[in-house]
């Protein structure tokens, strides 16, 4: 069994993975299996506030972000949250830690809903001790930094639903939430559908607004009360700050989400759509979720073609919305878009103009410690993966060389759909996607139903119903081991990365238990 220098208490969890039991000083519950861990007790709750402490005219504007942070009591060891609705166009997170550095504050925990390449800037603050660790996602350069063991604290990776759960259950206590708002009023009501930095919705910040001790709304488009729609309620907000520029619009909504031109990926998309059709997963009134990747977008277009031909429509499509999903709504091919984030300007426009384009939050869509969530009502979820193993376990956070490179996003939460399909190439360049064992476990195989590759489709043996339906199909149905062998025949069998005996981050499951550990890479 692996030992850890930093953390000597390691156990094997129900998925057979070695994980630490104490992380950043907090006692952890190792993963127990799907639906097995049911905490008792009450949720966390914020402090009681009194209107007497807030201006009766509703004007909570303070002169600067620095002033707001000082008034919030920014201090050593605090947890500061930000959100990724501006994606790579975020200008706020870096400024917060510039201010912390200037004030000489140390050991902060950054709790973003996701990080992007623009946050590489923060590496200097991770190095000098301003930031102790990131609990959120560590992408690209931040992932490399973490994997090489350079982060002081231990990284914690959570899904979007897991993030809501952690805040709600009190696992993470947010001291100060800073919410970037494309439009807000002085009272703190805010939305993402108006303003030059319009990004659609602010759902990722909902938990923070509800549970943080202090909440700051920062905007570059202040409107007189009321700011409608009020996606974030000013009643949760302590201070409002107005700055010149809140984000870089062209990096917030890429405007370039396009269907793939790669013939191989188009073929995988076509196979996926044909599989769904032959397996009877598409019907009048069905629902689906397809992500923003080129292959997923193409699958959505095939779905739309099938619906149009049969004069059917979907009851709802789950966003990440984009122009293709919006055109389905406009054409009447879906009754609703239930949107978690908007990927392009058409998505923003649609959310602003159409009542059937609904903004959702991780609470309604993903939170596992709620009285249900709608991820499990979705008929088909199309997701990606960096690796899948012969037991259908999948990885989305590390590369085969052991480096962290992605966050979990809503991926874990979507696994609860009625049919989860991973369309993936059999290999990327020379790297087989199908492995004996995933480098990092992010999703247990029992929740992953179908793998579609350009050289064949593997159905999880647990899905006897799907296997029976596809009997006699002309589609290339194979076993996952056959597919893995094909990949290795072409690429050769890859060596596994060497790791040092040191945990650098953990992967949480949707219920807050520890699903896997990420180890320091051996350079």
């Amino acid at each position: 069994m692996r030992k850890s220098k930093k953390f000597d208490q390691l156990v094997k969890n129900a998925a057979g993975r070695i994980v630490p039991t104490i992380v950043n000083g907090q006692q952890m519950v190792p993963y127990m299996g799907i639906g097995k861990y049911k905490p008792t007790g009450r949720k966390a709750a914020p402090m009681i506030s009194s209107c007497a402490d807030y201006p009766p005219d509703g004007n909570k504007v303070v002169p600067s972000l620095k002033e707001a942070l000082i008034r919030c009591g920014l201090n050593d060891g605090m947890t500061i949250s930000t959100h990724h609705h501006f994606r790579n166009g975020d200008l706020l997170a870096n400024q917060i830690f510039d201010i912390a550095k200037e004030l000489g504050v140390k050991n902060l925990v950054w709790f973003p809903s996701a990080s992007f390449p623009c946050h590489e800037y923060l590496i200097k603050y991770l190095e000098d001790g301003t930031i102790n660790r990131i609990e959120g996602s560590m992408n690209g350069p931040l992932g490399k930094f973490t994997s090489e063991g350079k982060m002081k604290g231990l990284g914690v990776l959570r899904s979007h639903g897991g993030r809501y759960q952690a805040v709600q259950d009190g696992e993470v206590h947010i001291d100060i939430a800073v919410i970037a708002a494309p439009t807000a009023d002085a009272f703190g009501n805010a939305n993402g559908v108006h303003g030059t930095a319009a990004c659609g919705l602010l759902g990722f910040a909902l938990a923070d607004s509800q549970y943080a001790d202090k909440v700051v709304v920062v905007t570059d488009n202040l409107v007189p009360f009321p700011c409608i729609p009020w996606q974030i309620h000013g009643n949760y907000v302590d201070y409002t700050v107005v700055i010149d520029k809140i984000g870089i619009p062209e990096k917030i909504v890429s405007g370039t989400t396009e269907i793939t031109k790669s013939p191989d990926r188009l073929y995988i998309a076509e196979l996926t759509a044909r599989f769904c059709d032959e397996a009877g997963l598409i019907y009048d009134g069905f629902s689906f979720q397809a992500g923003a990747g080129g292959t997923a977008l193409s699958i959505g277009i095939y779905f739309a073609d099938i619906l149009r031909d049969r004069k059917w429509k979907a009851r709802f499509a789950r966003g990440g919305s984009n122009k293709y999903l919006v055109s389905m709504l406009e054409e009447g091919l879906t009754d609703y878009i239930l949107d978690g984030q908007t990927f392009d300007l058409d998505g923003v426009r649609s959310m602003r103009d159409y009542p059937n384009h609904v903004n959702t939050s991780p609470f309604t869509s993903y939170n596992y410690h709620g009285k249900g969530n709608f991820a499990s009502l979705v008929d088909i979820a199309i997701l990606g993966a960096t690796e899948v193993d012969v037991h259908f376990n999948a990885n989305v956070v590390t590369h085969s060389d052991g480096y962290l490179l992605h966050g979990i996003g809503g991926w874990q939460n979507c696994l609860f759909s009625k049919c989860t399909i991973l369309p993936v190439p059999l290999f990327r360049d020379r790297l087989p996607v199908l492995r004996d064992e995933v480098t990092t476990l992010c999703g247990p195989g029992e929740l992953i139903d179908v793998i579609v590759t350009e050289r064949g489709i593997a159905i999880n043996p647990l899905r006897k119903d799907l296997i029976a339906k596809m009997k006699g199909s002309s589609l290339p149905i194979k076993t996952i081991r056959q597919l893995k062998k094909e990949a290795e025949d072409i690429c050769g069998k890859p060596d596994n990365p060497g790791f040092l005996d040191e945990v650098v981050a953990i992967v949480k499951w949707v219920d807050g238990t520890v699903l896997d550990a990420i180890w320091r890479v051996d350079k």
Binding site: P263, Y267, D429, R430, E454, I490, C491, P494, D495, N496
Partner: protein, 407 residues
């Protein structure tokens, strides 16, 4: 400082390829430096392969630098062998293992609706080409390869023929124009090639030269499988000589037309209607039919214009062509649909096949449909049409049952 030789590709946008630099040194033991995108997973494997090749070819006093962007082993082997041959002029080969399933041969009359061109020095486009199910795959040594890359491309093409599974597609290579193309042949003839395209063909003699060289190489390699030829007519002179070219060798199974060069030769441009090439296309169709081989149309070069491609296929089929080239996998489906047998054709063929089977079961020597007698070649064509319609999914494999139900 010794002489430096290079092979392969590197830089932004290069995937599944590698760039190898070889430098002659004074030290006997080879110095090997591998920088790979997949270092952790395959670094050792790459080094082992390089050692094996150096040992097999008895090479020392070299410094080898591999800059790898995720190349498959057949690519690394090709790059290294080509750079060694440049440096040492050796003729010794390092052949990767032949995939057992690649030892197939193709029939003279097989369908050649689509043939997908792949540049011979761009391995990443070759790896998945077979999954798109073109009738033929062309590894191109001619126009798609820059002049200074012609030599190294031969090794990629040879290794691809041996190690890549094209899932039943007819395995083709377009060699360079004769006489240069004759030197390409030794890299492909012994490696289970199915068909060779001879570009810019103007005289029957060019076909004869290729055919003779194939015979010689096959004799040396002690193989005797069929290797078919498809001359490409790409000039005014070629058009005038189309018939003798078609008859030049019994290896010729098809003749193609290449319109980019042809229109340039005429001093005109390609137009969507193709009026300028009407004569040439008809000549090629007529010459091919007269010689009993398949006439094959030129490529349609706008990969984004699917409707234009569709119209082009319709015109092509109407002129009498049996297939055409494609330069992108997404064109394959449109081409197959366009050349597929049409509904009335299938229906008529079905009736003929049923009448034929009826005649056999009753022991009749003569097949008749209504009051009309049916000749053997017509039956044969009908059977082929039905097979094709079934294999393309246009006709249900149980079509006879539903036909009988109608009765």
């Amino acid at each position: 400082m010794g002489s430096v030789y290079t092979s392969g590709n590197k830089g932004k946008g290069i995937r599944s390829d590698c760039f190898i630099t070889l430098e002659k040194t004074r030290t006997k033991t080879p110095e090997i430096l591998v920088e790979s995108k997949v270092q952790v997973m395959y670094g050792k494997d790459i080094r082992k392969l390089i050692d094996r090749i150096l040992t097999a070819l008895k090479i020392d006093h070299v410094k080898i630098h591999v800059e790898d962007s995720g190349a498959l082993p057949f690519v690394i082997a090709a790059r290294l062998e080509s750079v060694i041959r440049m440096a040492f002029g050796t003729k010794k080969e390092f052949l990767p293992d032949l995939l057992p399933q690649n030892k197939y041969h193709t029939a003279r009359e097989r369908n050649r609706f689509s043939r997908l061109y792949l540049p011979g020095n761009t391995p990443n486009l070759m790896i998945n080409a077979g999954i798109h199910k073109p009738d033929g795959i062309i590894l191109d040594l001619e126009d798609a390869v820059a002049p200074d890359k012609k030599f190294e491309a031969r090794f990629i093409v040879r290794n691809a023929l041996r190690t890549l599974d094209f899932y039943g597609a007819e395995r083709m290579v377009r060699i360079n124009q004769v006489p240069m193309g004759l030197d390409d042949l030794e890299f492909i003839v012994p490696h289970y090639i199915n068909l060779i395209l001879i570009p810019k063909c103007e005289h029957a003699d060019q076909v004869i030269q290729v055919s003779k060289k194939i015979d010689t190489l096959q004799k040396t390699a002690k193989v005797n499988y069929s290797i078919w030829l498809m001359p490409i007519i790409e000039s005014a002179l070629g058009v005038m000589n189309a018939y003798p070219i078609a008859l030049a060798s019994d290896k010729v199974v098809a003749m193609a037309i290449g319109l980019e060069d042809y229109t340039a030769d005429l001093g005109t441009r390609r137009t969507p209607d193709g009026t300028e090439s009407f004569f040439a296309r008809s000549m090629v169709v007529n010459a091919a039919r007269a010689a009993g081989i398949q006439p094959i149309d030129s490529v349609f070069s706008d990969v984004n214009d699917m409707e234009g491609l569709k119209q082009n296929v319709i015109r092509s089929k109407a002129l009498g062509f049996d297939g055409m080239g494609c330069i992108h996998p997404r064109q394959i489906k449109v081409i197959h649909e366009g050349f597929a047998p049409e509904a009335p054709e299938i229906e008529k063929a079905g009736k003929i096949v049923l009448a034929y089977e009826n005649a056999i079961s009753k022991g009749l020597g003569v097949v008749a449909l209504g009051s009309k007698m049916i000749d053997a070649p017509v039956v044969k064509r009908a059977l082929k049409t039905i097979d094709l319609a079934v294999s393309m999914g246009i006709l249900n494999a149980n079509w006879k049952e539903s036909e009988n139900e109608k009765k």
